[in-house]
Symmetry: C2
């Protein structure tokens, strides 16, 4: 039904091999006149190479699998976008799978993508220790993007979460508001917690109170209510993700506390959302594009080293920390 390379060959009066040579610009040379005839035939017939046949023959699908925890989180959407763009630049399309935060779903999605025949896999897991064992092994290179710890046997990529958290907390401490509170999630937050502690230690200030909650708007909201609902609330807080910070902002709003006058806030991730909260959030930005670029490169170049590559984070100062206004 569809136009095949044989149709093109017949129309142009050449062999189908020549059609391949023209389409792929190699590996054999083709006379200019012949190539022109073939190109015209392709144009006239509206020929498109069958990607399944190409993949079968080549032994490569030129498909990259990407697993993210939750597309509804702008951070993961940003990662997805960045990976897609970098992959496209290398002739790869990406098969994206969102797991909605479940370990089991993540495992299933990895299986599905492998079964789909992706050439490589990038996994942006929410888990500190993702479950990467599949039936019969993976059979394809897998690189972990956005991990906080070394994962034995797999190449991984993260950024300097400890340093970023320390910088953000130190910035808050510099405002002279005393101990800095902490809103933080599960075990993947460990480095951020350490960075927060390190900043207090280095400043010789006692650690502020901690409220724990999921890495979500809702989790931040609940943690914010608990942290600031009590009379001995801190006057500044380091929140370990933008999403949680949005929830904290909402909690502060409900409690009638002003930001930054009553409470100074610094968050973590650096997603677009933080530019449009009220006030705008001072945040520690993850190097998303650089991480995506490095991850795709490692995945597609068959880089088999399994160390963890760490990129630097960057503090973006805006209104919520009290710079400029309350100081």
């Amino acid at each position: 039904m569809s136009v095949t390379r044989a149709d093109v060959a017949r129309y142009a009066g050449v062999s189908s091999a020549v059609v391949s040579y023209v389409v792929n610009d190699g590996p054999r040379p083709v006379a200019a006149a012949t190539a022109a005839r073939v190109r015209e035939a392709i144009e006239v017939l509206g020929y498109r190479p069958n990607p399944s046949a190409q993949a079968l023959r080549r032994g490569s699908s030129r498909l990259l699998g990407h697993v993210v925890p939750d597309l509804g989180n702008p951070l993961w959407a940003q990662f997805a976008l960045a990976v897609e763009e970098v992959a496209a630049g290398r002739g790869y399309d990406v098969l994206l799978a969102s797991t909605e935060g479940g370990a089991e779903a993540e495992h299933r999605r990895i299986e599905t993508l492998v079964a789909r025949g992706v050439d490589a896999l990038i996994v942006t897991s929410v888990m500190a220790r993702p479950d990467l064992v599949t039936r019969a092994g993976l059979g394809v290179p897998l690189v972990l993007l956005n991990t906080f710890f070394e994962v034995p046997g797999f190449p991984s990529l993260g950024f300097d979460a400890l340093g970023g958290a320390r910088t953000g907390t130190a910035h808050l401490l510099g405002h002279g508001r005393g101990p800095v509170g902490l809103v933080i999630g599960g075990e993947t937050g460990e480095l951020r917690e350490q960075g927060w502690r390190a900043a207090a230690r280095e400043a010789g200030t006692p650690e502020g109170p901690i409220a724990r909650g999921e890495f979500s708007r809702h989790g931040g909201y609940g943690a914010g209510l608990r942290l600031f609902g009590s009379p001995d609330r801190p006057r500044s807080v380091f929140v370990s993700s933008d999403l949680q910070a949005v929830g904290v902002l909402r909690a502060l709003f409900e409690l009638g506390l002003r930001v930054p006058e009553d409470v100074a806030v610094v968050s973590f991730d650096g997603t677009v959302e933080t530019e449009f909260t009220n006030p705008q959030l001072t945040t520690v930005r993850q190097p998303v594009e650089a991480m995506a670029r490095a991850a795709v490169a490692r995945a597609l170049d068959g880089d088999t080293s399994t160390d963890r590559q760490v990129l630097p984070a960057e503090l973006v100062v805006r209104g919520s920390c009290g710079c400029g206004s309350a100081g």
Copy 2:
């Protein structure tokens, strides 16, 4: 290198046809004992069918293409998620492409996905009149998701934007704050504008002022500054997207206007974000899941009718419209 069906056949001592029958559960029956042997061989060898070979042979990739305007907008991310889930339920994976709002990029992405061999295409365009003509035609079914107008020659799916906007505006008018302002974007906002006008007409109230801006946080911010920066500002506003509403909220915050006391706000889309703004946004919710379900069904079932299917929208009342507090 990889385990093939021939390896399994050899290991199990059967023909490769039998392996197919077992893997696909048909089309020929297999004796229970034989099937068990095959299954064991599959297990032991870690066999996975080669999806390219299957696609080539079947003439179907079981891949669905989905084009969205911008993954960073939670609304499109929600659509992407919904489409993925519905597709997965039918054994399809989705190749997602984000166009970052450009008409030319959209066109290119459609081409890419077709060249990739998707069985069908769902296009969530930002354009009122998407450019759907590709070299040599599409060759695959294409359905438009989230269109506001009939598109000749293509099946399309939308929701009742006019009715939704009318309901939202009428709700605001019911609060007795006089004329309702409007923040709105380009031509795809036409129906929402009509709904806003209809509500004013039906209530016998003059139309409020209009501010136009892009369908983005930034566009809403600018429009908000203009609309509320002047002394004859309206006391309520209908904002034609959640993203813009976030920008409007930011503008109001900067102008020192309180929501809903000084200005009541109703927005449009119903994304998660609206639950966590301060205050929470009253919004007109799009039936995202229902639309995704219908779109996938039409795309995969080869439904060739080219009419536009319209689903109902729903008003979600929260704090920003003044219900409960300022009234």
